[in-house]
Amino acid sequence: MEDLLHMSALIQLRIDGELHELEVLPNATLLDVLRDEVGKKGTHMGCRTGHCGACTVMIDGKVAKSCITLAASLPRATITTIEGLQQDGEMGPIQQAFWDEAGLQCGYCAPGILLSTAELLADNHQPSAAEVDQALAGNLCRCTGYQSIKRAVHSACVRMYPDQETGIEEG
């Protein structure tokens, strides 16, 4: 592909805290750049049409489907992948909650489920069940029937905001 490099764009991404300068082709998706150029294999391909959410990352703090995001559209951005959720080498509170509740089974959908949960809980300390549904509406899971995921999101909320009187409200 070297002969196509004259078409490439230079982008600067801070990915999970580490700065990367990358030459990307105009048609390269963020998913392929993350997986193949940066080695972030924790971000997964499920459909390439933006429906399943296995490729979810955070771009400047907001979740996005990396399979339908062109890397060249992000000349400068901060990206958080599932691999950036650890804190000081330990599982972060959301990961710990999903671990404690056996929130996932095969784990292929984890990037989307965990990052969508992170986005929700970042500024909503007491989400209603409907808000959880809404926040995770872009993420398909085929293993759990979502029951354990709901439990885990609740548990993550309690972990992150122990001073709140209740976690997720019913209804």
């Binding site: 924790g42 095969c106 984890a110 029951q147």
Partner: protein, 796 residues
């Protein structure tokens, strides 16, 4: 001596987590697509745009000119290097027809999406582009896409050499159905149309074949549920000795039957690696994944009842639309649908006729439930229909006809030997769990307000852990337990995990049998060079035979360690005590020995204290469930299953009269999977299966145009449940231990699909009863429900 085996102090029966579940949460799990090797090449497969066509020529010259292309082959060229793909389950073993299944179409395409040519290139985009430069000259033929039409005498033949399109006809005919129907007070006919829907794991299939130049062998990294049997198929297809092929099935992102083998890409990728001498990877697109179908059946049921509602006879003639012939085991689902009749009911006079029909749709593969979900859907919709006709409640009619809990073991008319169960008890528990009485009140209130709430029940029997004589569906499996000189434990299993957590369950069992900390146990699965020969993951078998064989091996290793400990402590075995990881002699003062110290002695003192054992501390054992019987009884029946899990389901829904949209309000399930090793993981399995069931009957559907071209190409068209579509599921256990397995295990994982699906449909029809609407053609998608409501209202 005292032991700490599998008692209340141990891990079995508790919610335990092991490292197995940690890697995916960190983004560190290695799925097949995460492996990339030096010199990696990528394949793209060109597929037939026609359901049926003669292939006049395949001109690959245009593709070969594209820079970066390494190899291009047509089906005819591939056929020179390969044998037909060996069937996972040969229909001929069951009296059916066999076809030559080639990795790619040769001269004729028999379904939309069949591989026609393959390109291998330096990257996936180049391969895809180059494939568009291949010129294929087709003469399209008339396609047959409906199973019943495919049986017409003048129907086009899917396999030109065959006399008809009937892959297999199986009658399950027992007793005297004619007399039963002649003496019946009521006969209820029900026609049930089950549509084509699929498993669609979040991880699509992926194969990365590596040619090993030093050993002239192939290593295939594969999304495979059954690495050892796949290895044999590849050996036969590729004309290679089996010991020159290694399969590595790493972390799998869901399988649900779809990753059982027979797929053309498995052997194709190996051939590409062999011919290029380089690693070649193929990642299935979602569009390709959606080609793999399952379940489409039309049932014509008749049930005969006496005047008290006892079922006297059952007739069911059904037609399964299998699509084109395939080496995958999907077709066997149709056989199982028949074999599992009449499910949980006591009726003895049955006439069930299975028509397994090939058409020009893409092929099936195995799908969670493996045909037993279709038995449940057909039977349970018909039972509700019968209850309406007889003026009985659906619960009352079922309770009257269930096999009673004191009748086990129970020989079914088709020859299955149900091990245990309490079907009536399970149904009562499921009704209590959802507060059935409250919902009846709410339903009446809602109706008075012009809203339509429905309550539906259903029951599901799922024989699991199957073994079919003369096939690689083997029933038994093996595990190795290896304790190192430092006392840490490696378990190698012949079963695999598609992401279900069975490695955790096996670690719990081994930890209890050895009396060690579960963190000292590593479970390795899915590498044919490391694991004992095994049959992998299918039929809810993994914990029954994987856990059972690991328990036997661990018990044997533990006996060896005990002997060495007794020798070291200079006490009799009877006086040996083991507590909290320490060995000591009863009535013998002195320093206790740690488990690790004893293990070290077993390795290092083979000529004195360890003379009493044969080192190393490693045992391989097989668990062969004793209740499987392949010697026919006097009726010619075999019992292919060791375990008959079962469950009752209740669904509550509300149907929007204006839009036809079904909203599920609550679901309950009472599940009998025998002894529970890890309650949270088992419930996770059941809830996942329920998600399959409700998605399957409410929104998931694979459709075709009249010419047999598939219309469902992405998740825009294939609508799977999202979080808001799944209500809270109340799960209760109603366990009756299996008398014939380790600790009383039954299978888990398959139960949930058919029972929940049927309960949901029954709840929708219950909701719509006041409108005079009854739908037995699935799925109950909003347009279909809306149209049925409109039709009923138009008829007023």
């Amino acid at each position: 001596m005292s032991t700490s085996q599998a008692d209340s102090k141990g891990y079995v029966g508790k919610f335990v987590r092991t490292k197995e579940g940690r890697a995916p949460l960190l983004g560190k799990a290695k799925y097949t697509n995460d492996y990339t090797f030096a010199g990696q090449l990528y394949a793209h497969i060109l597929r037939s745009p026609h359901a049926s066509a003669v292939i006049n020529s395949v001109d690959v010259s245009g593709a070969k000119k594209v820079a970066g292309v390494r190899l291009v082959m047509s089906g005819r060229e591939v056929a020179e290097y390969t044998n037909p793909i060996t069937d996972y389950l040969d229909p001929a073993v069951f009296g059916g027809k066999s076809a030559d299944i080639r990795p790619m179409a040769v001269d004729r395409a028999w379904c939309f999406g069949q591989p026609v040519a393959i390109v291998v290139a330096d990257d996936a985009n180049i391969a895809r582009y180059a494939a568009s430069r291949i010129q294929v000259d087709y003469t399209p033929l008339e396609a047959v896409t409906d199973a019943e039409q495919a049986l017409a005498e003048d129907a086009p033949r899917v396999v030109p050499e065959w006399d008809d399109n009937l892959l297999m006809y199986v009658p399950f005919v027992f007793g005297d159905t004619d007399s039963a129907f002649a003496s019946a007070a009521h006969v209820v006919s029900t026609e049930v149309g089950i549509h084509r829907f699929s498993t669609q794991p979040m991880e699509t299939r992926c194969y990365n074949a590596v040619w090993e130049h030093d050993t002239e062998s192939i290593t295939l990294y594969a999304t495979s549920q059954n690495p050892h049997p796949l290895r044999l198929v590849l050996a036969e297809t590729l004309r290679m000795p089996e010991n020159k092929i290694r399969i590595i099935a790493s972390t799998i992102g869901g399988a649900f039957g779809m990753k059982m083998h027979g797929h053309p890409e498995e052997s194709l990728l190996c051939l590409m690696a062999k011919l290029t001498g380089r690693p070649v990877k193929w990642v299935e697109s979602r569009e390709e994944c959606l080609l793999i179908g399952a379940r489409e059946q039309r049932h014509y049921l008749e049930m005969a009842f006496d005047d008290e509602g006892r079922m006297l006879g059952l007739r069911d003639r059904f037609y399964a639309n299998l699509g084109a012939p395939s080496a995958c085991p999907g077709w066997g689902m149709a056989f199982l649908t028949g074999l599992t009749m009449p499910g949980p009911y006591r009726v003895r006079d049955i006439d069930v006729q299975v028509h397994a029909v090939n058409t020009n749709k893409p092929s099936w593969n195995a799908a969670r439930g493996y045909g037993k979900e279709s038995t449940a859907i057909a039977l349970e919709l018909a039972m509700d229909h019968a209850a309406r006709q007889l003026g009985m409640s659906p619960v009352e009619l079922r309770l009257k006809n269930f096999i009673r809990h004191d009748e086990f073991p129970y020989g079914s008319p088709t020859g299955l030997m149900y091990d245990s169960g309490d079907y009536g008890g399970a149904l009562s528990k499921a009704l209590d769990a959802i507060n059935h009485e409250d919902w009846l009140e709410k339903q009446a209130q809602a109706l008075a307000e012009g809203r339509y709430i429905g309550i539906g029940v259903a029951f599901e029997l799922t024989p699991e852990g199957g073994a079919i004589p003369g096939t690689m569906v083997a029933g038994y499996d093996s595990s190795t337990v290896r304790v190192g000189p430092d006392g840490t434990v490696r378990v190698l299993t012949g079963i695999t995990s598609p992401g279900t957590g069975n490695a955790t369950g096996i670690a719990q069992i081994v930890a209890d049998e050895l009396g060690v900390d579960i963190d000292h146990i590593e479970v390795l699965q899915g590498d044919t060079n490391a694991s004992p020969y095994g049959f992998g993951n299918y039929s809810g078998r993994s914990t029954i035979v994987g856990g059972g064989s690991a328990a036997l091996a661990a018990q044997d290793v533990r006996k060896m360690i005990d002997k060495v400990a007794a020798a070291l402590l200079e006490v009799d075995l009877e006086a040996l005590e083991f507590q909290d990881g320490l060995y000591f002699g009863r009535g013998k003062p002195g320093t206790p020995l740690s488990f690790a110290e004893v293990c070290y002695a077993a390795y290092t003192r083979a000529y004195d204290v360890a003379l009493c054992i044969e080192p190393p501390l490693e045992v391989t054992r097989t668990f062969r469930p004793p209740s499987i019987r392949h010697t026919p009884d006097k009726n010619g029946h075999i019992n292919p299953y060791p375990s008959y899990s079962n469950a009752a389901y209740v669904s509550v829904c509300e149907v929007d009269r204006e839009t036809g949209k079904v909203e599920l309000l609550a679901i309950s399930a009472a599940h009998d999977c025998g002894k529970v090793i890890n309650p949270v993981l088992v419930e996770g399995q059941a809830c996942g299966a329920i998600g399959f069931g409700l998605g399957g009957v409410l929104s998931e559907e694979i459709t075709f145009d009249e010419g047999g071209r598939q219309l469902t190409r992405s998740f825009v068209d294939y609508v799977m449940p999202r979080m808001s579509d799944v209500p809270d599921i109340t799960m209760v256990h109603h366990d009756s231990p299996n008398p014939d397995t380790y600790l009383g295990l039954k299978g888990a994982g398959e139960a949930g699909v058919g029972g929940s699906a049927a309960a949901v449909v029954n709840s929708v029809n219950n909701a719509l009863q006041p409108l005079g609407v009854l739908i037995h053609d699935l799925p109950l998608s909003p347009p279909r429900v809306w149209a049925a409501i409109q039709a009923a209202e138009g008829g007023h």
